[in-house]
């Protein structure tokens, strides 16, 4: 290959390298999108109440299946909404995690760790305990409290010097504080409320319904275009603040824009399904490994969606004692992946 390369003029060689450099990320993204569609179909068609693809199309078109009238109900009010909600929250968590990891230049930076999810839990549990909230009230409180805690973290982390590590440390502190309050509240409420709060806090797609999906979809339709439009600026920040600024980037605006976008993504997703453990955290690094070291918000979002939908499929069908919240499963698998990532980053650091 290098022999061919030396025959090219320098300019052609640079152009070729640029084109080559984009091929792998594009292939991976297409591959991930195909995988997501496959996993989505598996979630909807297989498992309890297996439906064939032609039957699925018939159901979507409003018909029913002869000899299995229940199938229509199961698909339209359980399997399909869960798969759609799982996809949307997965995309949001995966993207939010990658934003924070790229922005704060630290693999530990993810909404799970830096208090955004704790804020959502705090809002939800407060609602359940004090106002007996259900459904959308819980979602609203979750968004409001995660935004409030995010602002608190920003205020604490503000001041001159690099924002990166300060933000993470303050976030971990605020997360601990939020969790402490949540735990206190859980010991003070009756067992039924506590259980519904716990299910919410673990992250579950069993709450899926079309209204909820529509609200999340509208929110994501507003947030994702902004995230994609200014990606170049976000990536330009990665050379360090000083250099980025001397390249003409408005560092302050870019940084705060993406912190707000990342918090919003994590908050609306958490409000819809509860904080599904570790998804935001592991999606970015997995996407990076697939793409060959570089960060990609798109790939990370797709990985997040694949993880959530697939984990929900397993949790709903292959757990002996019956269905289990998806967050339990992602939590159980997330921990070993976290350890693996830490080992990998140690190796990278050494080389």
């Amino acid at each position: 290959m290098s022999q061919v390369a030396t025959e090219l003029t320098p300019v052609d060689r640079v152009a070729k390298l640029r084109a080559d450099g984009r091929r792998r990320p594009r292939l991976i993204i297409v591959g991930l999108a195909v995988t997501l569609v496959a996993v989505f179909l598996v979630r909807v068609l297989l498992g309890t109440y297996t439906v064939t693809f032609p039957d699925f199309i018939t159901i979507l078109q409003g018909g029913s299946i002869e000899g299995a009238r229940g199938a229509r109900y199961i698909v339209l009010s359980d399997k399909l909404p869960r798969a759609v909600l799982g996809t949307l929250t997965g995309l949001a968590f995966g993207c939010a995690g990658a934003i924070f990891q790229l922005l704060l230049r630290n693999p530990l930076a993810s909404p799970d760790i830096i208090g955004i999810s704790s804020g959502a839990s705090l809002g939800a549990v407060l609602g359940i305990v004090f106002w007996g909230s259900t459904g959308f009230e819980i979602s609203f409180l979750a968004v409001a409290f995660s935004l409030a805690l995010a602002i608190l973290i920003m205020v604490l982390a503000a001041g001159h010097g690099g924002v990166g590590n300060r933000f993470i440390l303050m976030g971990i502190g605020v997360a601990a504080l939020g969790n402490a309050v949540v735990n206190y509240l859980l010991t003070r409420i009756d067992i039924n409320s506590a259980q519904s709060a716990m299910v919410w806090m673990t992250g579950s797609l069993s709450v899926a319904n079309w209204e909820r999906i529509l609200i999340l979809l509208i929110a994501l339709c507003l947030i994702f275009p902004a995230v994609m439009l200014f990606q170049r600026q976000l990536h330009a920040l990665a050379v360090g603040e000083e250099l980025a600024q001397s390249l003409g980037l408005n560092v302050t605006i870019t940084r705060w824009l993406y912190i707000v976008l990342g918090v919003l993504l994590a908050a609306v997703a958490t409000a819809a399904s509860g904080p599904i453990a570790f998804v935001a955290f592991v999606s970015g690094p997995i996407a990076r490994r697939l793409i060959g070291g570089r960060h990609s918000l798109t790939a990370s979002a797709l990985v997040g969606a694949i993880i959530v939908v697939f984990a929900d499929f397993i949790a709903a069908n292959f757990v002996p004692s019956g269905a289990m919240p998806v967050g339990v499963l992602t939590g159980a698998f997330g921990a070993p992946i976290l350890i693996w990532l830490l080992v990998q980053s140690q190796k990278e650091g050494r080389s």
């Binding site: 320098p10 640079v14 152009a15 640029r18 450099g21 001159h160 330009a236 990665a238 360090g240 000083e242």
Partner: protein
């Protein structure tokens, strides 16, 4: 590549600092266009702070810095970035980035939200890679390069920015002597070929004298002396600015004098009295620096 436009960079009665702490005080200076200027001085004298001021990372608390007569803070970000480039002391290579990709980051000021890489960008990147002799590394990952190679790649990135003025903050740190000389020769060549105005902060006095047309020695946030190497690099000036006892030679009569610090006076042993004297003198210098 096209020649640079000579731009007039002036610093007028500028105070620079962090918070309430002023580091550079009432400093005035004109940067000679098309020449290499090196700023030298002891640690904490404000050289890097001054460079941060010129590159707009730090806003003067009083006075102003002008480019062609206009206050530098009035230019839009990208417009300024097309005229003045900076290579900071420790830039960060993004994860997993290749050399060609990193160098093309220098084209950021020429691109917009919808205007992506053009043929012009490819040309600039190719030229920068060739000029720094890093074309052979183009597809390598930056993380696997040696220190000397990596510094060349960073310079290539700064060159791809195609600015008329280039500011470099200690570009030779962490390099061995051969690579330091190599890198500074590269900068000299670029200056001769394109007429790029360069301002370097350098620690290594002999190399500063070798590369720079114009030397500025700073002490305590002020200019101690400035001019050609042979007038700045004198035994008296070195003692005044650095508190360093050294002799200055110009064996090749090249106008690039060489600093030779005086031999160390043994502490103990025969010349106890001398050593004591030298120590107390150095202490006095230190105190006056505070």
């Amino acid at each position: 590549m096209t020649a640079c436009t000579y731009r007039e960079l002036r610093i007028e009665h500028v105070d620079l600092g962090y918070g309430t702490r002023t580091i550079v005080k009432d400093l005035s200076l004109a940067i000679p266009a098309g020449k290499i200027t090196a700023i030298i001085g002891p640690n904490g004298c404000g050289k890097s702070t001054l460079l941060r001021g010129i590159s707009r990372l730090l806003k003067p608390s009083s006075g102003e810095i002008t480019l062609d007569g206009k206050n530098i803070h009035t230019f839009p970000g990208k417009e300024f970035a097309r005229m003045v480039g900076l290579l900071p002391q420790s830039p960060i290579a993004p994860d997993g980035i290749t050399v060609a990709d990193l160098v093309s980051r220098g084209r950021y000021p020429y691109q917009g939200v919808f205007k992506r890489n053009t043929a012009e960008d490819d040309e600039a990147v190719a030229w920068a890679l060739e000029a720094t002799n890093t074309m052979g590394l183009a597809e390598r990952s930056v993380s696997e390069l040696s220190g000397g190679q990596r510094q060349r790649v960073w310079i290539a990135m700064a060159l791809a920015q195609q600015t008329d003025i280039l500011l470099l903050d200690e570009p030779t740190t962490y390099l061995d002597l051969a690579h330091q000389v190599d890198l500074l020769d590269l900068l000299s060549d670029l200056n001769e070929e394109r007429g790029t105005t360069m301002v370097l902060v350098l620690h290594e006095l002999n190399l500063a004298a070798r590369v720079a047309h114009h030397l500025i020695a700073m002490k305590d946030g002020e200019i101690a002396c400035a001019g050609k190497a042979e007038s700045v690099m004198t035994s008296e000036n070195l003692h005044r600015v650095f508190g360093l006892k050294a002799s200055v030679h110009d064996p090749e009569k090249s106008g690039a004098p060489v600093v030779v610090p005086h031999a160390r006076v043994a502490r103990g042993g025969f010349s106890k009295a001398n050593a004591g004297q030298a120590m107390s003198e150095a202490d006095r210098e230190d105190n006056s620096n505070e």
